[in-house]
Symmetry: C2
Subunit: 275 residues, 2 copies
């Protein structure tokens, strides 16, 4: 712990508390942590926290929750306010509609968006906001393109990420595997996960970058079931409107995309996110 | 922009400024951004920023830089202070020394550490702190295990990530490839990167999770050169002490590991990080 030679002013404590809370979302700091850090009375810190909570609410910068009782304390949860959502969706959609993204085979090149912290940090926070009340233990994805987004989601929820692999790697140790049908290629593929990665009875959130028929997400759902654990949510960045029926029933998508016709790329945000 | 109905108090503005700056490291906010947001005078915001800077310095929570001139403003850069470093290294080393991590083939299972935001967020900030003065344009890694760490580094530097693939994927469009010798398997492998991922004359930071002989990092260096761009740094989480001579000369490692003998896993932090 950093030793403070003299007492800090209220506005200095407020700034420091905001930084410490937001650096680690969904982590409960005790009141004692702050009373020791600032060498201040509990009543003083409690008043500071009321102000921190108010700042976050007034500017819709996040949510600060106070947990009462002996094991209590305070934690920060990410919130992506309406203004940020609208700007994020507008920017992503404008990028996605660039026709030069269409590559041979009718695929859309989206790796640059999926690897840009400007976008994936906010999308990860949107997923964290949506699923923060689900007591998630692990976020799972399958390599490769969805990993940055899944990592940002795991970071927003303060839980570990689990990555299913497309090949059985020596460095994973003993693995569990499942066959699945990729919606985009129609081919049967196999995915592997380290047996020690997910303990039994865990609550798992599945995150992926793209869903067409949902075969890959279905594979992950089956994998989680094989691990004697429970899927409590499926989050996807881009979902295609066709086929209408997906291989996973409950899922939550950020953007909805039509089939590409004559180079026209039609994308819209999930309307529920703008309510 | 959120509309404020009444003026905020100084301590409220301070809290909000800290949150906004830290949400987006290495991004320059103009003074106007804050004067409009808070409906306050420039002189008021300038005083607020002096306090924010002081808080960050006094508690070693980060670095706030003011950029003078017409294009000026203020930005936040991550700093991992000595106390956090010591705690991070101690926790990671204690985890790494668990003998049950040794898996058939003499490999060490480290995926759980590499996918845990608790560790990779701080390690990413350490890399961002180390390389923030290098005007980095892109962070590059090769799939799969180093991706979360590379993403956290890219996030700390506010630049896009580029992921080289081990297979030529349809969704990458036109790719550039290079052959390299993996230090751990001795086999010749190929890595691919989308041609449009890195424009010419970019400054690239290479990040990987593990370096034995440095063959994989060497492959990425060659790939960056083929893209007519420049490698300005190589950052690695764990480096083995043998072989002493690596295939890339300049590189920066967080942890140094001896060969595993009789199940003994000896790991130490890079001593330069504790100075």
């Amino acid at each position: 712990m950093v030793i403070l030679l003299k007492k800090m002013k209220r506005n200095e404590r407020i700034g420091a508390i905001v930084k410490i809370l937001c650096d680690r979302p969904n982590y409960v700091y005790t009141l004692n942590y702050f009373t020791e850090l600032f060498n201040s009375a509990k009543s003083t810190i409690s008043e500071d926290l009321v102000i921190v909570k108010k700042i976050m609410e007034d500017l819709a910068l996040g949510k600060v929750e106070t947990i009462p009782g002996a094991a209590g304390g305070v934690k920060y949860l990410p919130v992506v306010n309406m203004q940020k959502r609208k700007q994020l969706f507008a920017e992503m959609i404008s990028e996605l509609q660039d026709r030069s993204r269409i590559i041979p085979g009718g695929y859309l090149y989206i790796a640059d968006l999926l690897y840009n912290p400007k976008y994936v940090k906010l999308v990860g926070e949107l997923f964290a906001e949506k699923f923060s009340n689900q007591a998630i233990d692990y976020v799972m994805t399958v390599e490769t393109k969805g990993i940055p987004l899944a990592m940002m989601t795991a970071s927003g929820l303060n839980v570990p990420l689990v990555i299913a692999r497309n090949e059985n790697k020596l460095t994973e140790g003993s693995t569990l595997s499942i066959n699945y049908v990729s919606g985009s290629t129609g081919k049967v593929q196999t995915m592997y996960v380290a047996k020690k990665a997910v303990p039994r009875n865990s609550r798992v959130l599945i995150i992926d970058d793209f869903m067409r028929a949902g075969g890959t997400a279905r594979g992950m759902v089956d994998l989680v079931n094989e691990l004697d654990s429970e899927v409590v949510g499926v989050g996807v960045l881009i979902e295609t409107n066709t086929p209408l029926k997906k291989m996973v029933e409950d899922h939550f998508s950020i953007l909805l995309m039509d089939e590409i016709v004559d180079g026209e790329i039609a994308v819209e945000p999930n309307p529920n996110l703008l309510k």
